[in-house]
Amino acid sequence: MNLFDLKRTPKPWTFLETPVISEQVQYRRKTGPEAQKLPKGGLTDFRSNASEATRWLEDVYSMCARGEKEAAIDVVFDQIERLLSGGEFEKCDSVLRAVDLQRLSVSLILSLLSVTLSASKMLPYRRVLTARTEAFFGRNEGAERAARLLNGLI
């Protein structure tokens, strides 16, 4: 295929190429009519109550526990993006405040710090979270690895 002759035909979603659509993938799409098709008793609709902006974290914890790393990272990126693109910095900060580091994998913690990095000036609690993370990684991963994990994210 010729790179420069290609007509741009972006697909609506990359995961539509995948024959099996999981609960987690549906979770990403639940803002439209698909929201009506979500499995019962499964995932939380955080949008139904603005005061519960951190509830989706429970889903992320569950995904982490099940080893669904990529899906959990997608949820973190999507939800933080939704909050920040809507200018909801206080809610985003409350998410950072509510994070239970013990229930997240290293990958998820780094993803959370990465996706909030550009908005760090608007998220006062992020600095606290990075300090908590530094201490947490230091205890669990050792000081050297903690430094390598957090380099560029603080």
Binding site: M1, N2, L3, F4, D5, L6, R8, P10, K11, P12, W13, T14, F15, E17, T18, V20, S22, Q24, V25, E68, K69, E70, A71, I73, D74, V76, F77, D78, I80, E81, L84, S85, S105, V106, S107, L108, L110, S111, L113, S114, V115, T116, L117, S118, A119, R145, R148, L149, L150, N151, G152, L153
Partner: protein, 217 residues
């Protein structure tokens, strides 16, 4: 250090890393750089900037891949960024093309945030920006030289399909001393201690070119 390897020999899909830079030589003979990243389901995806407003997940070339010498978990956010940037692009259809790069990154919504003097990204700097978003600085761009003659030839090679406006913009950048980081240099940088300096990366480029030529039919 993340030495580049042929995907034919060591399949990226079978490795634990979540994201890697991928380098190919296209049918036109030029090098092209992109990112391959893991997702929740299915084989690894690709994301690469072909040209102005042409971000694509289609990749049809054999390639070398490499990733930075970082803790493996550091690469997971790179994959997250790829998915976010692609979703953003599907909404806007826009991603500007430009030569100079001084550390542009994407904001939390996947929107490109250019720095002063930057106009857009190339395939190379797109990869650098995505990795930088994950806190991984692959090159020390201040060590890259200005190569106006080479860059002018590069822009001339785009003339068959690029609009006059974009060609003029690229030529303005070259005139004003913009530094172009070449695709093979970025791939070579992954094999260096990062952030790689120009001399270290450049020394490895010829080997990479020879390697990629082995893939030619």
């Amino acid at each position: 250090m993340g030495f580049p390897v042929f995907n034919d020999s060591v399949r990226f899909a079978d490795q634990p890393q979540a994201a890697a830079a991928v380098l190919c030589r296209t049918e036109h003979g030029n090098f092209h750089l992109g990112i391959s990243y893991k997702r929740a389901f299915g084989p690894p995806n690709f994301l690469h900037l072909g040209f102005q407003d042409y971000l694509s997940t289609e990749w049809n070339w054999r390639f070398l891949w490499a990733t930075a010498d970082v803790e493996p978990e550091r690469l997971d956010p790179v994959a997250g960024w790829c998915r976010l940037i692609w979703n953003r692009f599907l909404e806007t259809g826009q991603l500007p093309y430009g030569i100079g790069w001084d550390g542009a990154t994407f904001d939390s919504t996947g929107r490109l945030m250019l720095k002063s003097g930057e106009v857009g990204l190339t395939c190379s700097t797109f990869v650098l920006s995505v990795f930088l978003n994950a806190g991984i600085k692959v090159v020390e761009q201040s060590t890259w030289p200005v190569r106006p003659e080479d860059d002018a030839k590069f822009v001339d090679s785009l003339a068959s399909f690029a609009s006059p406006d974009i060609l003029a913009s690229l030529r303005r950048e070259i005139s004003s001393g913009a530094v172009r980081i070449w695709p093979a240099e970025v791939m070579a940088a992954f094999a260096c201690t990062i952030p790689a300096h120009f001399d270290s990366a450049r020394r490895r480029v010829e080997d990479l070119a020879a390697d990629l030529d082995l893939l030619r039919p």
